[in-house]
């Protein structure tokens, strides 16, 4: 499985949490610059896979990054005290220990404004993070994740349908940023329409790796039935009809 272009190689990865196998014997590789979707039912180990790749969790097996990779991470749910008076500007300043948290320079302020401009959130700079709506928080988190120019962006369930400046959804934004910044992107998604449209590679996880490859190869009725159980195939059928009728993204599974 030696791939010359591989950025990441994962071999026989297993993760145990509280004496239970969450991920067992998963192997795959990812090329630099690709967008990879991790799909699977709830509780199948997708977020755990992310956390292992990010080096947050102990694991067995091998995770090999062939180049020194800097990570940006947008987690799915942030549980923080909403009364914590951290502002969006301060959240950025925390990313740069040397930028002067207490007395930031003009140039850093300009960089922060610029980063927020990218996600259409420049008006949020003085708002408290705890007062942001879900969509606003997600934009800010994307901007902060990109602030230190990462090579790899991990995105746990971007909320589909959040508008970022008019018509652009969060997926369009990610696609655009990935191209512009030459990012490798990992995203967890339940939205198979999005997956098939925007990603280069799909990993189907349900404790074990059930499939891996280009979306048109992987997202077949048979594979999905194996991954989600029998309802998924029915779902997908309806979903295609619906999409034809309304030209709209399907509901998440």
């Amino acid at each position: 499985m030696a791939d010359m272009n591989a950025l990441l190689e994962v071999r026989n990865l297993s993760v145990r949490l509280n004496q239970a196998d969450v991920i067992r014997d998963v192997s795959f590789s990812v090329e630099a610059g690709k967008t990879v979707a991790v799909i699977g039912p709830n509780g199948s180990g997708k977020t755990t896979l992310f956390r292992a790749l990010l080096g947050i969790l102990p694991y067995e097996g091998e995770i090999i990054w062939h180049r020194r990779a800097r990570f940006g991470y947008v987690p799915q749910q942030l549980e923080f005290d909403r009364a914590f008076p951290l502002t969006v500007r301060e959240l950025f300043l925390l990313k740069r220990p040397r930028a002067g948290f207490w007395l930031p320079s003009e140039s850093v302020s300009a960089l922060i404004q610029n980063a927020l401009n990218h996600v259409g959130a420049e008006h949020l700079v003085n708002r408290r993070v705890g007062h942001l709506s879900g969509g606003e928080l997600q934009r800010v988190l994307i901007a902060t994740a990109l602030f230190e120019k990462p090579d790899v962006l991990f995105f746990d369930e971007p909320t589909a349908g959040i508008d970022i400046g008019g018509e652009v959804t969060v997926y369009k934004l990610i696609e655009h940023l990935a191209e512009e910044l030459k990012l490798t992107v990992f995203l967890i998604s339940h939205d198979l329409a999005v997956v098939s449209r925007y990603v280069d590679q799909v990993l189907c996880i349900n404790q074990r790796l059930l499939c891996s490859g280009a979306p048109e190869k992987v997202l077949t009725a048979e594979q999905l039935r194996a991954l989600y159980g029998s309802e998924a195939a029915v779902y997908r059928h309806e979903h295609e009809e619906e999409e034809g009728r309304r030209g709209h993204h399907g509901q998440p599974l």
Binding site: L78, P85, L86, E90, L94, R128
Partner: protein, 263 residues
């Protein structure tokens, strides 16, 4: 240095150190942990009084032991933290009272001015400086973990080590308050300035500055009132702190109203 200058300096040191840590205690919803730690030190104080060594070291020893114990068990059974803290808290209080018979116990619990000897002053000032220095150096790391330990970990911050350092600093802050404020009241001195500042601040940076100002005001006012009316300094400082907190609650709706109007 005169006695009252030393006392003021010691009080300021304790309040600033405890107050600064309090920013993260309050924001991480760990108020119960701070309270529990101040009770946990009791058996250490009792032992020290029994065997005739400085209660500061008795308290510090038991506090560090408790912090490491709670951390260790929590790592294996994370869901247990609340229960664990509660049980340790009460058990320690009970054990402390069973062991302790000396009347010195009361002073350790609620503080006293007469007991201000050189060693007490020195340990409080040095301990306070250590807490202020290490917290200042780690401030951004602590803030990041408070916002999201997941994101902090993904950036290569060792969350476990950082949290352990934080708990150890918290334990030290309780120990240095032992004789002046009293261990039982240190929980309040950790929480009150930050809780007050949060009501008055719109950014983390202003909350930090206001916390330190409120902590200093609590102690300076508290000591002055205690002296005037011949009261125990610890309880007086806490009552003054609680009053200032209540006033800050009245200020909060104004700030929120302002915030909404600003949308």
């Amino acid at each position: 240095m005169s006695d009252s200058t030393t006392l003021t300096l010691v009080g300021l040191m304790i309040a600033l150190a405890a107050g600064l840590l309090g920013i993260f205690v309050v924001s991480r919803r760990m108020s119960l942990v701070a309270d529990a730690l101040s009770h946990v030190s009791l058996p250490g104080v009792s032992l020290a009084l029994r065997f005739g060594f400085d209660p500061f070291f008795g308290a510090l020893g038991v506090l560090i032991f408790a912090v490491l114990g709670i951390e260790g068990i929590q790592r294996r059974r994370p869901a247990l933290r609340d229960t664990l803290v509660g049980v340790t808290f009460t058990a320690a209080l009970a054990v402390g009272i069973l062991i302790g018979t000396d009347e010195g116990l009361l002073e350790s619990l609620f503080g006293s001015i007469e007991k201000m000897d050189r060693a007490t002053a020195l340990s409080a000032i040095l301990g306070g400086l250590l807490i202020l220095g290490l917290t200042a150096v780690n401030f951004q790391r602590f803030a990041k973990i408070t916002f999201s330990s997941e994101i902090a970990a993904s950036e290569g911050i060792s969350v476990k080590r950082s949290n352990l350092l934080f708990l150890l600093l918290l334990a030290l802050s309780v120990a240095i308050g032992l004789k002046t404020i009293g261990v039982l009241l240190m929980g309040a001195l950790i929480i009150l300035p930050a809780a007050t500042a949060r009501n008055l601040s719109r950014t983390l940076r202003s909350m930090t500055v206001v916390t330190l100002m409120v902590a200093a005001a609590d102690v300076l006012l508290g000591f002055r009132v205690a002296e005037q009316f011949n009261l125990l300094p610890g309880p007086t400082v806490v009552v003054i702190g609680a009053l200032i907190f209540l006033v800050s609650l009245l200020a909060r709706p104004v700030e929120q109203h302002f915030h909404h109007a600003g949308h």
